[in-house]
């Protein structure tokens, strides 16, 4: 598993920006970590797909799909960084061409 990590591409996917200086530190560290986790390549494993709950000795438990009271508006908005009346204020989602 020889794969070099394209740090700019991964940053773009993760919505993060690194300064050149941070890249100098993080890029080799990540390369080293990726090489280390790449040890799994040595293993011969069955090709069956395993979901994130495959380690559970029981099935996921669901309750009846019934409506329940939810957070009151004031509580839900209390931590919002910017508000306008009963709304969370965000920058324009669709850019003008």
């Amino acid at each position: 598993m020889k794969s070099s990590i394209d740090i700019d591409h991964v940053c773009a996917l993760a919505h993060l920006r690194l300064t050149e200086k941070e890249k100098e530190v993080l890029a080799p560290q990540l390369a080293e970590i990726v090489e280390w986790v790449g040890r799994l390549e040595e293993l011969r494993l069955p090709m069956s797909s395993q979901g994130p709950d495959s380690h559970l000795p029981f099935s996921l438990v669901f309750r009846p799909d019934e409506a329940r009271p939810s957070q009151p508006l004031e509580t839900a908005l209390a931590n919002a960084p910017e508000k306008a009346g009963p709304f969370i204020k965000v920058p324009k989602v669709i850019e003008e061409k």
Binding site: M1, L26, Q29, P52
Partner: protein, 487 residues
């Protein structure tokens, strides 16, 4: 003996009989916090006024719960309505919890008193509590050393007598390793035993909430209370919850425990090795038969864990984008820039590292080679445990490869990750694991024994841990600083 050395059941019994006021208990602990906190720095926020108010309410109640007046410290990634929940991160620095976690509701129903929120590695990502965005917590046994992590604040608070018990969360060892470093008891329950509703998610297929306490009995009591049905967490199994403190004292009888052959060739500190073998010899005196078993997936468990945890973290932490809650950077031209600037300024270095690793492992072209491979490796780890538990009742290991290390000693991330070498496997397989103090290094630092059990057999873990606790006579696990002062 001072109030701050009492067991949970002693506090409860005195408060219930009105021989001691819950308010007095809380005052004693707040005084202790005032004295110890400048050195230890276990708490992100101390909620003295709220705690006293709550204690007075407990004193007024006619029927008192099984934790009446017990001061509990809570890791700052578990929500308590109306209190801050920072997760040790700038991005949630001013976040006030709009509701309480299920575990908090369960403890409150038994009249526990929440005394404050404890420091942690940012979002639980770390093994020393040094990646907190705010400050480092110091190990009460030696202030130049780390308390372990990520629940380092909770472990240090209990060890320093600043709380009678604490809650932490364990994704790859974050309750057990700091418990070992601080000489307290720490349990990661079976995945599915304790509701995670109200725990801020790091890696959802691994996270479990667990108690940190001074004694095994206290741990059994807290576990009994926080376990069981919820309806707000679909990963919570519908299983009966045994009366752990009662079952713990029942005769264990002959048992079989296994060493993992591959685990013992790891680089282990000589003192840890020495104490571990002494403890294991002691298990034989307790009726144990010790066998060695092969565990070929052992060396792959840690890299497997880091792929899975980082992948899930990259997904879980995508929600911190400055839109609905938390920090929003004020400098942006459009929506995408707001996301990027908020996350870039809000997250610390270790969190960024793990988000980037996880994003990479899940990205197109690499998913099969990394994430899927890790998921299959995880299955192999589970199967090997299953095979082991067909023949034995327990698997035992040291909790950590070394005692508490000096602050600032591990600057290289991979070296830090190796701290979790003994603990991650239980998370991968969803098994319960407990760390119980089993001795001191030559430098006087606590060392922990990890006991891993079968799914939903915490009762058996408590039985053996209780015997180990009695056997090693770890006298100072009740209140180390008092003990040192009295000596």
């Amino acid at each position: 003996m001072s109030v701050t050395s009492f067991r949970l059941s002693e506090i409860q019994s005195l408060v219930a009989k009105k021989e001691l006021k819950a308010e007095e208990v809380i005052r004693a602990y707040l005084e202790r916090i005032e004295k110890q906190e400048p050195a230890v720095a276990a708490f992100i926020s101390v909620e003295g006024e709220k705690a006293l108010e709550r204690a007075r309410a407990v004193d007024r109640k006619r029927e008192k719960g099984s934790l009446a007046g017990v001061p509990v410290a809570v890791k700052d990634n578990i929500l308590i309505q109306g209190m801050r929940a920072t997760c040790g991160s700038r991005i949630l620095e001013n976040f006030i919890a709009p509701y309480s976690a299920t575990v908090i509701e369960k403890l409150a129903a038994e009249d526990a008193v929440f005394i404050g929120k404890t420091n942690l590695d940012e979002f639980g990502m770390g093994s020393s509590t040094e990646s907190s965005a705010f400050f480092v917590t110091r190990n009460p046994w030696d202030l130049s050393r780390v308390p372990g992590g990520s629940s380092g604040g909770s472990a240090a608070a209990v060890a320093a007598g600043e709380a009678a018990a604490a809650l932490g969360s364990d994704t790859g060892g974050s309750v057990r390793q700091p418990a070992a470093f601080c000489g307290v008891v720490g349990l990661k329950p079976t995945y599915g035993r304790v509701s995670r509703y109200g725990l801020v998610a790091y890696a959802s297929s691994l996270d479990q909430i667990g108690p940190l306490t001074r004694t095994v009995e206290d741990c059994a009591l807290l576990t009994k209370i926080i376990s069981g049905p919820d309806g707000r967490d679909s990963t919570l199994a519908d299983r009966p919850v045994p009366d752990f403190p009662k079952v713990m004292k029942e005769t264990l009888g002959p048992f079989k425990a296994a060493h993992l052959k591959e685990a013992l060739i790891e680089k282990i500190d000589p003192d840890v090795k020495d104490i571990y073998w002494k403890t294991v010899d002691g298990l034989r005196d307790l009726g144990g038969e010790l066998i060695e078993i092969d565990f070929p997936s052992w060396e792959y468990a840690l890299p497997c864990y880091y792929i899975i945890a980082a992948s899930e973290a990259s997904s879980n932490l995508a929600r911190y984008d400055g839109v609905r809650y938390g920090f929003r950077d004020s400098d942006y031209g459009n929506l995408r820039e707001m996301y990027i600037n908020t996350r870039t300024r809000g997250f610390g270095e270790e969190v960024k590292r793990r988000i980037l690793l996880g994003t990479f492992a899940l990205s197109s072209g690499y998913y099969d080679a990394y994430y899927l491979k890790a998921a299959r490796t995880r299955q192999m780890v589970s199967l090997e445990f299953e095979r082991a538990f067909a023949n034995v009742d327990y698997v035992v290991t040291p909790t950590a490869p070394e005692p508490a290390f000096p602050l600032g000693a591990k600057t290289d991330p991979l070296t830090m990750y190796l701290s979790d070498i003994f603990t991650v496997s239980a998370n991968l397989a969803g098994l319960p694991g407990i760390s119980v103090p089993c001795g001191l290094s030559r430098e006087g630092l606590p060392i922990g024994l990890q006991i891993i059990g079968k799914h939903f057999q915490e009762d058996r873990l408590f039985q053996l841990a209780f015997l180990v606790e009695k056997k090693v006579e770890f006298k100072n696990n009740r209140n180390i600083i008092n003990w040192k002062e009295e000596k």
